[in-house]
Symmetry: C2
Subunit: 248 residues, 2 copies
Amino acid sequence: MSGWLRVVGLGPGPDKWLTPEAHDVLHAATDIVGYIPYVERVPATARAKRHASDNRVELERAQQALQAAACGARVAVVSGGDAGVFGMAAALFEAMEKGDAAWRVLDVAVVPGMTALLAAAARVGAPLGHDFCVISLSDQRKPWSVIQLRLKAACEGDFVLAVYNPASSTRREQLEAALAQLRVARGADTVAVAATSVGCKDERVMVTTLGALDAAQVNMRTLLIIGSTKTRAVGRFVYTPRTYAEAL
Amino acid sequence: MSGWLRVVGLGPGPDKWLTPEAHDVLHAATDIVGYIPYVERVPATARAKRHASDNRVELERAQQALQAAACGARVAVVSGGDAGVFGMAAALFEAMEKGDAAWRVLDVAVVPGMTALLAAAARVGAPLGHDFCVISLSDQRKPWSVIQLRLKAACEGDFVLAVYNPASSTRREQLEAALAQLRVARGADTVAVAATSVGCKDERVMVTTLGALDAAQVNMRTLLIIGSTKTRAVGRFVYTPRTYAEAL
């Protein structure tokens, strides 16, 4: 029997956001590979063998999965949210590029998932109603200067800005520096949303402003949305209008 | 019985990408409101009364839906993909802002969906593996100068660029102008993906370069992904590496 590999996005947490396609793949797999909390999230009805590993071993995990598929296993590599957005998919193709040439002709595909950005935005209204940028604030894999330049470019284009990985328990300075940069470029009154653990029991969603946003409330499970100059409140909601009347 | 309103993203087309949450809301609604092709896509098992309307009447449709909810109906306003990304959600909040103050305290929520971007990206690998921008190329609701400035900003930040609404049957010049701008700013060898009708029977996905991309193959159901300077091919896939080593 010939193997396959699917990189599967599980969505932000609850089963209500797991797509039928992802559900079916998890139940057809012989092996499930991923970071511990994501493997734990796979429904108990999926009878595959589970291979959970720690964070920061994405490349090794991808190599293990490709090797297993090459040997005939049906492998689901699981990721939170969408595997293609700061998830396991890029690591998988990096491993493919660096590895055995035979891996390139395996039956490999990515199964899209609900990324946290869409779930967080929906919670507060329609902040992504117009053009937007998505950026990871982690400087583990890119120089801080690249992040600064991208924040600058996002402000110059007046894009709504969605920020993944804004901080961790040890990485705090970057968030303070980014918020300082954004407050100058975009103004303290700009709408800001801090959405933590969206869809999970400990969900906490705050609608505030860039000036009032408390960095201490932001952790590794937080997604930040910073409005454009047009983003505004209506009742308890925020939205970015479809129409952008003025030239920039 | 008190009414409610949900703005529901149906995903890019096939049922395999309709979330369980969206499925349940459609089956609990008394009324389904939306653009004709999206209303037609709601599963036949949903017994709600259907109110399909033509394109370009988003605001009127939103007003109708809010009014119905205010009168006690359980209304699902449907959108393709994710309702918050160039979909009906922003129109709904615009109608709320302009309308009866009582509409602001209705039971209203957005149900996130799989946006076409994620499905298109998954088809070709992991082009969104690093920071990216999302922009609509339609100049019906914003000046062309804003689009030009945003394309420029996206290139200065070396973001991967995802383009919604790249062209319609009558709106063709904008795409040619945008491609010309991007070829100069980013180089003709840059990876380009044109994904049309992803997940549907007439799906057509092309991986090419900015220089070779044939604008004639792009229509209103196409999503374009333009790579950053780092996006590259491995076998039949394309991906943007997680690591960005150099300063910009």
